[in-house]
């Protein structure tokens, strides 16, 4: 499987999962799909048959509302059966609308309230550094999530403790819950902010797999790395792109059909 294939499958699963679940956040799943695909398929050391292996790289989805993307990636990588994805958000399922670790092999951390993942990843990274573990810790955040003060507490901490084994990837799709980020709470120079906090910060096209691969593999001898991945919210389904409605709406009927059709046209 190539990362392109995985990203396509994440999008395909995501549309089906949110449709079946009548659940929200498909646009976030579509914007983060390439980031998740590149990390799981090409960048991280993963052990689907031994999810707790000490050698694994750790992945934390801090923007927990895009959990369907991670569930889809885990299933496609072999952590659990893809059939299980159809239970997403259904009665009695462990596959909750926001990513949850309980009962789901491969999920490191349950999130859903924003601003939690980077701090926990920093703690994990610090413990691993002290133990001399050779793994890398990835936290994927949303740009809207960067409104949370706790993100910046963690950013201060990660620099101060020189967490060179920590990579934050920002899914910078320019939109948040009710509106564009810049109309909500101006982020201004997001990459510059991370640099000012002492991080090595790279900016890439968050749908360009080659660029993502290179950026996510970048480490610094002293600094944590932040990858600001410029993305399009709703990427891959024309009518969902940059449309705040699809932060909430679930694809049904003709919308579902059209979304699937558009994806089928670009099937890798």
């Amino acid at each position: 499987m190539t990362s392109k294939e995985l990203a396509w499958k994440i999008r395909r699963h995501g549309i089906e999962m949110t449709s079946l679940a009548k659940g929200s956040h498909i646009a976030s799943v579509l914007s983060v799909a390439d980031i998740v695909a590149v990390l799981y398929n090409d960048v991280m050391k993963i052990f689907p048959r031994d999810p707790a292996s000490d050698l694994r790289d750790r992945f934390i989805l801090s923007k927990g509302h895009a959990g369907a993307a991670v569930y889809a990636a885990l299933a496609e990588e072999g952590y659990f059966a893809t059939e299980l994805l159809r239970t997403h958000c259904q009665d009695g399922s462990f596959l909750s609308g926001h990513v949850s670790h309980k009962g789901v092999p491969g999920v490191e951390l349950s999130t859903g309230s924003l601003g939690h993942g980077l701090g926990v990843a920093a703690g994990m990274a610090l413990a691993a550094l002290r133990d001399g573990k050779q793994c890398q810790f990835y936290a994927v955040l949303g740009d809207g999530e960067c409104d949370e003060g706790s993100v910046w507490e963690a950013a201060l901490f990660a620099n101060h403790y020189r967490l060179r084994n920590l990579t934050a990837v920002i899914d910078h799709n320019k939109m948040q819950s009710l509106d564009y980020c810049e109309k909500t709470l101006e982020l201004l120079d997001l990459a510059g902010k991370w640099r000012a906090f002492g991080w090595r910060c790279l900016e890439v096209d968050g749908h360009d797999h080659e660029a993502l691969r290179e950026a996510c593999r970048t480490t610094d001898a002293e600094k944590p790395v932040c990858v600001v991945a410029h993305t399009v919210k709703g990427k891959g389904v024309s009518f969902m792109e940059n449309n705040i409605l699809w932060h909430y709406r679930d694809p049904q009927g003709e919308f579902y059909e059209q979304a699937i059709q558009e994806l089928e046209l670009v099937r890798p």
Binding site: G112, V120, M124, A127, E153
Partner: protein, 316 residues
Amino acid sequence: MRNAFVKALEIQAARDENIFLITGDLGFGVLTDFSAKFPARFINAGICEQNMTAVAAGMALEGKTVFTYSIANFPTARCLEQIRNDVAYHEANVKIVAVGAGFSYGALGMTHHATEDIAFMRALPKITVLSPCDPLEAEKAAEYAVAAAGPFYIRLGRGGEPAIHQDRSFSLRRGKALELKSGTDAAILATGSIAGEALKAAAILAERGISCAVYSFPFVKPLDEELLRRLAAAMPLIVTLEEHTAHGGFGGAVAEVISGFRARAALTRIGLGDTFSAIVGSQAYLRRAYGLDGESVAKAILEAYEREREREGEGI
């Protein structure tokens, strides 16, 4: 109390190199020895309790036993959601230590009065709530928390609390209260250093011919249900005493348990009312001001005791 706790933690840390201590930039003079002895395992997270707690959860998920340390409401209320989601839901091996129970920092003002913390911490699933009454219980709480896996909240006083236990030989057992004094007419159940006021009240009441048993409850969660069942059946009156609101905390927890019994005992909960303290002062002053000192407690118990006797006399 805090010094006894940290000393005990140092002994544990010397034996177990998995133990880490993270402070939210507090503990001047208290954590100095720990930081000198174990510099690689002492982390000052800065003045950011949310991140301190998230980091602690992350380290615990990588196999560490992590103590977070701050004062008053900062390591609890300020980062309650990190405790709920990152620590408790993941059953991470994080021990949250708050110094300054109740009015320990009475003069510093309401921000530093920890008077609702038991309520919000005991509401969270998976967290054990420890509230030792004196330096010796605090020392044993440190040992206990290291030995037992999972999230803990440990509510400590400040410095200079008197010894309540005279005999060192007791041990903490999960969910078990400790008898400080036996008695037959009423049982005073206390958590934290205010157990000292319970003993004073018992001594005052003894002069009035009322025999009070006094128990220290280092475990607010889980509660000693077996003892409560026994006392509810045997005693005319159970009194809870805490340096905390009388709702939602220790007294509230006892009420929840006792309400399930066909109890003989009446329950009187002594603590703060539905209030913050806008006035400041020493811990002793504020205890008196809010009726939590030995004399006030004795008076309240005497009233409750006489009320119950009248009721019994009326055959109700």
